[in-house]
Structures are given as C-alpha cells and as structure tokens.
C-alpha cells in the first residue's frame, strides 16, 4: 500500500485542490457571516411575525440539498439570466447564502442569550441602540455564538466538496482525478480524508474548548 505511483507533481496537484477548498470556504464563510449577522440582527429586531418572509427564504437554504442549490443556481444564472459567471463565482454565491442561512440562526441565538436586563441597563445609561449592540450585545453574543460558528465554518468546508458540480476542482475532485490516473483509490482517499481531518480537528477542538471555557462563567 505504501509503494505508490504518486509523484511530487501529483502532490502539488492535490495541494492546489486543497487550496481551492480553502479559498471557496474562506470566501463563502466571510460573505456568509456578514450576511448572516445582518439577517440575524434584522430578525431579532423585527420580531418573529414581521421577519417571517426573511425566515422563510433563509429556511429554504437549509431545506434543500446543497447539490440541488448549486445545480439550480448554475442553471438559473446561465440559462435564465444568461449571466456569464465562473463556476467559482456560482459556488461562492450559493455557499455564502447557505452559510448566511445557518449563521443567521446562530446570531439570533447569541443575541437572544443576552439577558434583557443587561441590555436595559446599557440603555438606561444613555447608550444608543448601536452602542448597546456594539459594546454589550456583540461581545456577549459572540461568546455564545462562536463555538457554533466554528462548527458552521467547518461544515461549510466539508460541504464545499460538492462544488465539483459547477466545475470547481477542489480537494475531493482532485483526488478523484488522481484516482482515475493512478488507480489507488484507498490510498488517495485516505490522503484526502486526512487532509480534511487535519484542518477540521484542531478548529473543532478549539470550538469545544471555547464552549467549555465560556459556559462556566
């Protein structure tokens, strides 16, 4: 099993795929988080009834397979809107909204976890809504939300394995390409799994650590 036809060239090829996985993840998580915070705050601010349309739309992203979202977005952008978008653009757009949908829930949970009395105290000191948000709610909500957010970011990285359908060659796809040439499925798959594992595990552990630390005070 350890004598492999894998060359340095192939490793670079795999690394490129890994780079693509990371790139897609970083872009999507960054945009998705900004949108998610926006949506989450809007939801809390409007209340359940007024925010119902937004809730509905975000819920759709959590109720349809990502694969279908990608295929549909791709088909819609190209066939219906006739936009010339690269696969990477479509992948990042879909994944960003997908991230935002989950992130909005996390943000909402975080904000809800800040006791109303603490916010009242801030407002009664003369702080504006924005100052209350900035100096009181955000730091406190972050403690509640960060561990789940780390979980979400890792989830997005793993889900980014599906963007192959819009012709983005990320880590798993690169692995499949090499399997085609080298015919060493088990070895290559283990290599690929190890890579995901190596990025995920420390971050996941860090999230667990934060959760433990912050839940104590």
């Amino acid at each position: 099993m350890f004598d492999t036809a894998l060359t340095a060239n192939d490793l670079i090829f795999l690394a490129k795929g890994a780079g693509m996985t990371i790139l897609v993840t970083i872009i999507s998580v960054a945009i998705g988080t900004v949108l998610g915070i926006l949506f989450g705050v809007v939801r809390v601010q409007l209340g359940a009834a007024l925010a119902a349309p937004l809730t509905f739309v975000l819920d759709i992203f959590r109720s349809i397979p990502l694969l279908i979202q990608l295929v549909l977005a791709n088909a819609f952008a190209g066939m219906v809107l006739k936009l010339q978008m690269s696969g990477l653009t479509v992948a990042c757009m879909v994944l960003s909204l997908y991230t935002a949908a989950y992130c909005a829930e996390i943000v909402r949970g975080g904000i809800d976890a800040v006791p109303a009395t603490t916010r009242r105290a801030a407002r009664s000191l003369g702080m504006s809504w924005g100052q209350d948000m900035r100096y009181i709610v955000m730091p406190l909500a972050t403690r509640v939300a960060l561990p789940s957010w780390i979980g979400l970011a890792l989830g997005v990285m793993k889900d980014s394995a599906l963007v192959y359908v819009v012709q983005v060659t990320e880590l798993l796809k690169s692995t499949q390409i090499l399997i085609t040439r080298l015919q060493e499925p088990m070895f290559l798959l283990l290599l690929c799994g190890a890579f995901y594992f190596i990025i995920s595990l420390p971050l996941a552990r860090f999230g667990g650590y934060l959760e433990k630390r912050w839940s104590n005070d």
Partner: protein, 221 residues
C-alpha cells in the same frame, strides 16, 4: 433577459417518477436514522464504558464522522472499502455512508444530553434495586432522547439532504438520482431540479412538523 422558455409541462409529466424517487430517499433516510440512533447509543455507552480501547474506537468514529465531508464518507463506503474486496450496492453504500455520519453526530449529541441529566437520577434508580443497565434503559435513556430530540430532528433533515450524494456511488433510484437521469434525457435542468427542490422542501417541512407533533405527544412533561 428572460428569453429562456420554461417547459414546465414536459417536466411535470415526470412528477410520478420523481415521487417514486422521493420514496426511496425517505427509505434511506429513515433506515439510516433508525440504525444511526441505535449505533449512537452504543457509541455513547462505549465512550462511558471506562474501557480505553472501546472508548477510543467510539471516539475515532465520532471524530471521523464529524470532521470529513459526508460525500467523502459515502465515496469511501463504496470505492474505498471495495479495495479490500468488499462490495456494497449503491443503496447499501449510501445507507452505510449516511448511517456512519448520523451515528457520529448523534453520539456527540447524546453525550451532551447525558451531561444535562443529574447523576442523582441513576442513583435513585439504582437504590430502587435496578441494575446499571435497567437504570440506563428506563431512566436515563428516555430523558436523553428528549433532550436530544431537536438535534435528532435536524440530523434527520440532513440525512434526507445527504441522500442526494448517492449519485456518486451509482445510485439512481432516489429523488436526486431520478432527477439527474431525467435531466440526461431531456436537458431540462432548471425545471427538473426546481421540482426536485420543491419536493425536498416539502419533505423536510413535513418531517420538522411531524417531529414537533411527535414531541408534543411523547414529551408531555
């Protein structure tokens, strides 16, 4: 801009085939949940067993399930293990992949739920003369399942969504597989997948709603 002509009629004619696919999707999801829950209970017990090797096996399972893509797990269940001459049909491969994933995530949820149940509950059971297993079965487990019910519902929804990954291991009888086959024949990509999306959405809504009703019935306390 919208000079694309939608052909809904042609696509809608395929609805019966797609609904058949939805049934298969449900089969995979439900089976993977039932087996996944049982395995998760076992994994949880192993992690509590105090035996280091057993706990290590369980922990490895959980960590791999949670830290690699579901697609990877399914691909591995089909092409990976076949390197050792073990062959599973697409249906079974998909089922194994999703079940592996479910069990890992659920075991983690169960562990969290267990932490929330006071130690005195076991004590109360034991002091009534129950064995360790009886105390777990009749006192801890029901409470654990209640606390983990919402995460379990979410996992069920994910299981449904994950069935779409079956195409990578040659599955073509589930909803996604059927849709993809139809797409290959007609190339009405947008219409077909839009219908599939609606079906998926409806299924997940029925499940979350059903779970809510079930919870109201099961957990009257």
């Amino acid at each position: 801009m919208f000079d694309y002509t939608f052909q809904w009629k042609q696509a809608m004619a395929k609805l019966p085939q797609m609904l058949d696919g939805a049934v298969v999707t449900m089969e995979v999801a439900v089976l993977s949940m039932v087996i996944g829950i049982l395995l998760a209970v076992v994994l949880t017990l192993l992690r509590l067993s105090g035996s280091r090797p057993l706990a290590a096996i369980a922990t490895t399972w959980v960590e791999i399930a949670r830290n690699t893509p579901a697609l990877f797990q399914i691909y591995m269940a089909h092409f990976g293990v076949a390197s050792f001459g073990i062959h599973f049909s697409p249906f079974v491969s998909l089922l194994i992949g999703i079940t592996f994933n479910n069990a890992g995530y659920l075991a983690e949820n169960f562990r969290g739920a267990l932490k929330a149940i006071p130690e005195t509950q076991t004590r109360a059971g034991r002091s009534l003369g129950m064995s360790q297993l009886q105390a777990f079965r009749y006192i801890i487990l029901p409470q654990m399942l209640r606390i983990a019910f919402l995460p379990m519902t979410n996992q069920m929804v994910w299981a449904i969504l994950m069935t779409s990954l079956g195409v990578t291991v040659g599955m073509n009888t589930d909803l996604y597989g059927v849709t993809q086959d139809l797409n290959a024949l007609t190339f009405r990509t947008f219409e077909l997948f839009a219908i599939a999306a609606v079906i998926f959405y409806v299924i997940t809504k029925i499940i979350t709603l059903g779970a809510r009703l079930l919870a109201a019935r099961l957990f009257r306390y």
